[in-house]
Subunit: 363 residues, 2 copies
């Protein structure tokens, strides 16, 4: 039921499967007991806006905004650079409702992609996007309501159909794991705005220099714009981009309805779109995505998104691009949720990414 | 004008001054060029509440809260444990409007207390308190407004009197430093609540085991409650606690008015208060705090806070406690802002803290 066409990864995938075992031997099993050697670590804000209220500031009236300034809409990054780092660092951008935690310790307490890729010699920059988490100062007012929504996310993130986990899902469904998983969410502190987000993270790439962008879910949409805005983005690895695929004007495919919502492509001028054809892009989707419409919104939303992702891959490649889309079950990797990079088999997923980076000479 | 009585630190201070040079040689200047050896790093949520909406969850109506849960009011921590770590890790809690960044890279790009104390062999846990930054899920609704307020903070944090920096202030007043400084703020995502905050961070101490608590400013108030709630807090280093000093019932001193606000002590039952007499506590205040009332709210607020801190020190010590209060100018250290731990002389300040920890056999 969940079979799809084998993606155009060719021999690379087969090589990837074999290399996986090798890489697991080389990096993971040997290194995960050894200390991290960190040459440098730190944090900074990048991008953003400044507003100043009219009038003159009076130090005797400090609560009066007159003449006072407000900095907001920046991105925030915490980075670690290992000793003898590889050429390109990796900037990791979270998805909807998430923050840097996405890439840190997994909900069941294992190492996430932050530490796994540090061990593999990459500098790693973890981002909180503008108006989220530690980048909370927003230029636009918002109200945050504690609306119960976690069964939605349990289903939408394809852990299972609440309260039951999918059979053989790559997620530990014990209570403390779920507790940590739900507490890895944090709200928007301003309206979601792809332009503000992509401006902020494009500014991070000014500080990092040439690097690789990892995105997750909702971060996929800003991710395409970041690469369009800053040529320092030398490759993208997108985990389950959820919306906002950009197409050249006049080539946007028809919307794809689903039981959850309707997935639409977005138009950008051709010359901007072509930036996406200049860099290798790997797109990864997990398991339990149906291959035909179903009346469960969570599952059906991913059917529609995967369909749009395939149309997008074909469009970029038609224009000379280099997009590889892997639907994990097609290469025999089963049980992955929406968070393949933190799933129980995340070292195997990291091996797949490492193989891609090696083949594209990005490591 | 800014002279105060020499605090009751006795020979410890003089030893501290001499040791500073030694420690600087041993740790900082030699080590700051060498890599960090990190045995383990990661992140987790601790504490918090859960609410569930009445009704039954319908997977076909995912946007309907009925039967759905909501986890919030937890604290979040990112930790790094060096190889051959000392006995007690340090948990670092930010102040008002701030987040973990307080202890990370300074606004002018130097190492903050996170990395300085890692280099000195301590495990370091950086916290975002409940309803702040990456611990953003709040159980209570709030509205966040982008109100210009940065000249207030420039003055309140005693960098200077806007737009002029204090003479010889330990802060680099160049534009990019100020840009980074203002972007190190992030709003409350729910109402400020000391009980919620101290519950969350007391839960972090359940995960760390016995450790040392560093607090800054507004974090001082929850800090006392954390030590009362969890005996794993073996010492506190409080930088410029700004309010909410707790006294035994019946011993709360009269409020101290200032040109900014009125500083009040808070009453707790004596048996709870006595927890604060069982651990060594170091309280540090910086420079440019007047010793008599002035009509500038920012400066005068710190005069009143320092006065209350001295009354609090005397009360804890009268009950058998072990509080040392250092007003830095009294020991010849000048120019410090409200953020001594990230000021230009923060290695010297770290040396002072290291001396305290050594004398109390906490390292």
């Amino acid at each position: 039921m969940y079979q799809r066409n084998f993606p155009s990864f060719g021999s690379a995938i087969k090589a990837g499967i074999f290399c996986s075992a090798l890489i697991a031997c080389t990096f993971a099993s040997a290194a995960e007991q050894t200390p991290l050697i960190i040459k440098e670590q730190g944090s900074f804000a990048a991008g953003g806006s400044v507003a100043t209220a009219p009038g003159a500031f009076d130090p005797r009236k400090p609560m009066d905004p007159a003449g006072q300034s407000y900095h907001g809409d920046h991105a925030y990054a915490f980075y670690e650079i290992p000793a003898n780092a590889r050429k390109y660092p990796i900037v990791m951008l979270h998805g909807a409702g998430q923050f840097s935690k996405t890439w840190e310790t997994t909900s069941d307490g294992r190492e996430g992609f932050q530490t796994i890729f540090l061990r593999r010699g990459f500098g790693v920059y973890l981002v909180d996007q503008p108006r989220r988490g530690d980048a909370g100062r927003s230029m636009v007012e918002t109200t945050i309501k504690p609306t119960p929504d976690e069964q939605l996310w349990f289903n939408q993130f394809r852990i299972g159909l609440w309260p039951t986990c999918f059979p053989k899902v790559q997620f530990s469904c014990d209570p403390e794991t779920l507790n940590q998983f739900f507490r890895a969410m944090t709200p928007n502190t301003g309206p979601y705005d792809e332009n503000v987000i992509s401006d902020g993270i494009a500014a991070i790439f000014k500080k990092t220099g040439p690097g690789i962008l990892f995105t997750h879910s909702q971060g996929g949409g800003p991710g395409w714009l970041i690469a369009i805005k800053n040529a320092n983005v030398k490759a993208i690895v997108a985990f389950e981009p959820g919306s906002s695929f950009v197409f050249p004007e006049g080539e946007v495919p028809p919307p794809i309805p689903s039981a959850f919502d309707t997935v639409k492509g977005a138009a950008v001028p051709l010359d901007r779109f072509l930036a996406l054809t200049k860099i290798p892009i790997l797109v990864i989707y997990g398991d339990n995505i149906p291959d035909h419409p179903v009346d469960l919104p969570a599952q059906d939303s991913w059917r529609a998104r995967l369909e749009m992702a395939q149309l997008w891959r074909d469009t970029v490649n038609k224009h000379g691009g280099n997009v590889t889309l892997i639907h994990l079950p097609d290469i025999g990797i089963r049980g992955n949720t929406h968070f393949a990079f933190s799933d129980l088999n995340n070292v195997q997923i990291a091996d797949l990414v490492s193989t891609f980076l090696a083949e594209k000479h990005l490591d």
